[in-house]
Symmetry: C2
């Protein structure tokens, strides 16, 4: 069982910034964890998209052909590989989010989420 | 810190079966936890909807005016108030889901999710 993010993080799916909301939805539903990192042509993360953002686009009747950049969250809350699980839980709770990309030396190394934490760090009670 | 579902469960938002996918999306984005229980006129749960279902509807270009019953999951995986946290984690992992309604005597009593577990039962590491 893990003590830091590095012990339990999982790969994070990415999507190019030019893709549409519909393409983001199509990718999201094939992935195990409900977050995509939006990346520019240099592979640098410019935002995140979760199924919540797709739901908001649906709720506001946004055209699904618009670029994913228009619905993504640009102010990305992240973790580092060395963060403790407690730091992660506090950050998720504070921002009312379920997942975060993990960054190391400016590069996206993976993701951590409450699903992953529940399955991999919840001590057997 | 909790040992059973009853100790940590939270209220579950409900939506009438006659509502549309768009109305479900509008309700989902206002709620803290990303699951709705779909109920018939007697208040009996007939399915669940998560933002994943809204994303799939968007991905397949489904009209957002269709009833929520057409996108909900009818075979609902549930917990009971007496279930242990370990039972819940195993069930969430087995079905690759993030949340479950909690039922007691055939009535929906609340919901439990990996977000709730991470915040309320993850022992401080
Ligand atoms: C407030 S949360 C509530 C729903 C759900 N817990 C979730 O995380 O998607 C929804 C919003 O948070 C954003 N979000 C999720 N994870 C994020 C992260 N790591 N950094 C920044 N924003 C994030 C999503 O893009 C979405 O706009
Ligand atoms: C396989 S999960 C993957 C995404 C995410 N973990 C989630 O739970 O939504 C997505 C599907 O599971 C369904 N689902 C989620 N919770 C459920 C539950 N407690 N019982 C039955 N189906 C559920 C949703 O309706 C959706 O169709």
């Amino acid at each position: 069982s893990g003590r830091t993010v590095a012990d339990v993080m999982e790969p994070i799916p990415t999507i190019p910034a030019a893709k549409s909301v519909r393409e983001a939805a199509q990718l999201l539903i094939t992935e195990k964890w409900s977050m995509l990192a939006v990346v520019d042509e240099d592979g640098v993360i410019t935002g995140v998209v979760t199924s919540w953002d797709i739901a908001r686009a649906s709720a506001t009747a946004s055209a699904s052909e618009i670029p994913v950049t228009e619905i993504m969250t640009k102010n990305v809350i992240t973790a580092t590989p060395g963060d403790s699980i407690l730091d992660v839980v506090r950050k998720l709770e504070l921002h009312e989010i379920s997942a975060m990309p993990v960054v190391s030396d400016g590069e996206v190394a993976g993701m951590i989420s409450s699903d992953i934490l529940a399955q991999r760090t919840l001590y057997r009670l």
